[in-house]
């Protein structure tokens, strides 16, 4: 598959269909990959795709005041299903013109959550891994452990119903016809069953770990405000200390800012150095929006987003809780 991907990207360069391609290369650690910016054909050989390719590369389109986006410049982005949805979101929100994007889909079989792997091997140093169907063998200095791949996959992958790009220009191999048979909101349902107090406790427990490094916000393709509200100084909306009252406002407002725009890629949760379950509330909001407005973000470029359309018969009783 990786060979096919490399050939396809080379062909795109030869045919002058792209000016640059963003993909993944092997990372410096066994369980990590690294974003790769390909500007010339020789660099294509570094391209990989496997379970370590956890970054949502769409984020680079809006990074640094959309420095990469220039009229007439075509950017190819290699995408899993969720990443493709971010690109669709960008087209909908006019961050980039569709014709400036070449969406290259790859068949995603889920990405690792490094933290889950580390827990499974008692935080021992991992030196390598191999995948065999639904099993993953993790190798270390003096151990080898075989794990169920689903168990160590990112939360977002465990609940993913769009593993393949819903919109693409190229697809390596064939996109799957059937949606995965997965209850995408299983964790949300469980959360909803908790009492109000327990739900609040869960949220405060998680968000109290926050150190305000903003890794979640910065890896999130949906978070691209020129100046984030937490960085505004005049007026200053919230305190900057890692106290729960301030961190919770940061996270809840971020949840609401990405309401109907979150593609549930889980990049936020994987980026968090404190291991906060950042996906849960986003997923909860995604569920509400799907149920109430029948809208899922990043699936269809021509569909009006839930937060930008109004129907008279919309329910008005949506309040979290």
């Amino acid at each position: 598959m990786v060979k096919e991907l490399q050939e396809k990207v080379k062909q795109l360069f030869k045919d002058k269909k792209v000016d640059m391609v963003i993909g993944w290369r092997k990372g410096s650690l066994p369980l990590s990959s690294s974003p790769l910016f390909i500007n010339k054909i020789e660099d294509v050989d570094n391209l990989i795709f496997d379970e370590t390719c956890q970054n949502n590369l769409a984020v680079y389109i809006t990074k640094d005041k959309r420095r990469l986006v220039k009229d007439g410049k075509k950017i190819g982005v290699i995408v899993k299903g969720c990443d493709a949805r971010s690109l669709v979101l960008y087209c909908v929100e006019k961050q980039i013109k569709r014709e400036n994007l070449v969406i290259i889909g790859v068949p995603c079989k889920g990405v690792f959550d490094k933290r889950k792997v580390m827990e499974q091997v008692d935080n021992k140093e991992v030196l390598g891994f191999s995948v065999n169907g639904k099993e993953v063998t993790i190798k270390g200095q003096e151990f080898e452990k075989t794990l169920d791949k689903f168990e160590i996959a990112s939360d977002s992958c465990q609940s993913c119903v769009y593993p393949d790009a819903p919109v693409f220009d190229e697809f390596i191999t064939e996109p799957r016809k059937e949606k995965p048979d997965i209850d995408e909101f299983a964790k949300v349902d469980k959360f909803e069953e908790l009492s109000l107090d327990d739900r609040w406790k869960k949220i405060t427990d998680e968000y109290s770990k926050c150190v305000r490094c903003y890794a979640c916000r910065n890896v999130c393709p949906s978070c691209y405000c020129n100046v984030c509200f937490v960085d505004q100084n005049d007026p200053q909306w919230i305190g900057k200390s890692p106290e729960i009252t301030d961190t919770i406002i940061f996270h809840l407002i971020r949840n609401l800012h990405v309401a109907g725009r979150c593609v549930e890629c889980g990049a936020c949760a994987r980026a968090c150095p404190e291991g906060i379950d950042l996906l849960l509330l986003n997923k909860k909001i995604t569920k509400e929006i799907k149920e109430r407005f029948g809208y899922t973000a990043g699936i269809n470029i021509d569909e009006k987003p839930a937060m930008q359309s109004y129907c008279e018969n919309e329910k008005q009783d949506f309040i979290m809780g």
């Binding site: 410096s28 150190v211 490094c213 890794a215 200390s241 980026a271 291991g275």
Partner: protein
Amino acid sequence: MIKIEKNKFDEFLEILKKEYNVFAPKKEGAQTSFKEIKFAKDIEFNNINTKIPKEIFFPQAEELFMYKDSKIENIEKKKAIAVWGVRPCSAKSFILIDKIFGRAKQKPGDKNFEDPLWKTKYDDSLVFTIGCNTPASTCFCNWVDCGPFDSTGSDVMVYDDGNGFLLEGISKKGIKFLSDIKDFEESNDKDRQNIEVLKNIAETMLSKPIDKDLLKVKIDKSWNHSIWDEMSAKCINCGACTYNCPTCHCFDIQDEGKSNKGKRIRLWDSCMFPDFTNEASGHNPRDLSKDRFRQRFMHKFKYFPENNGDYLCTGCGKCIQVCPVNVDVRDVLNKIIEF
């Protein structure tokens, strides 16, 4: 050098607790971080992969002073701190931060520039550093004038030979502390030989260091080079690296409260954030992601060495572990050398 068997650690802790508030690695949930410890059973002895102990002396949020009705209340001195089980890369980081926060007068006529919050905690502290028998693959302490058994910044070096801990006094404070405590066995020649063996094994587990002279030559010439564009392309400018770095010490000052009652606090800040240098006029001297990325590495490997003689990095590899986009400081240094 004295010997403490692991099952006798409680006794040792009791002695330590008399004069000190003791901090040591404690496992809470999935994370192991340095917390105040009351009982030996709470200490996580085996995990090399703890969070960095910077917070003990330099908390993420800390009061500079309180005020009430325009009367200012100074901070109070607390009981001295002992830290058990920091790694050599962290012990050295204390010395590096102390070069900034502990710095008194710069030139004649200057005001006293010592940082009172740092000094009241760090100056009286007792640092027990545990040697690293098995460095991790992300460790590169040997690249930056540190090492798995480096004692810089330590009051007492601790060696774990499997059966127990061997304690060696390093600083005057450390030597005095060890000479004052009784009831523990002295180490013998065999113990000392064992330590040498451990040290030798650890050394072999580390990668070959970079050429430091070449790094100096190259980094001095790198300012306008395209490597900074290439290397910074993937950086998303979050603060994960800086907040998990034992040597990063930049901070913000904020007021919390109203005009008649509140506090002035300082908070960790990060050179990765645009707001770090963004001026009230809207002008930002480090506007681009590249500018901020370059500042971080220039500060660590050029500016700090120029001003203070050391790299502002102890090779702990934490930034490599936490970076969401796999920015690896070793790759950065290699790229600088190779351009």
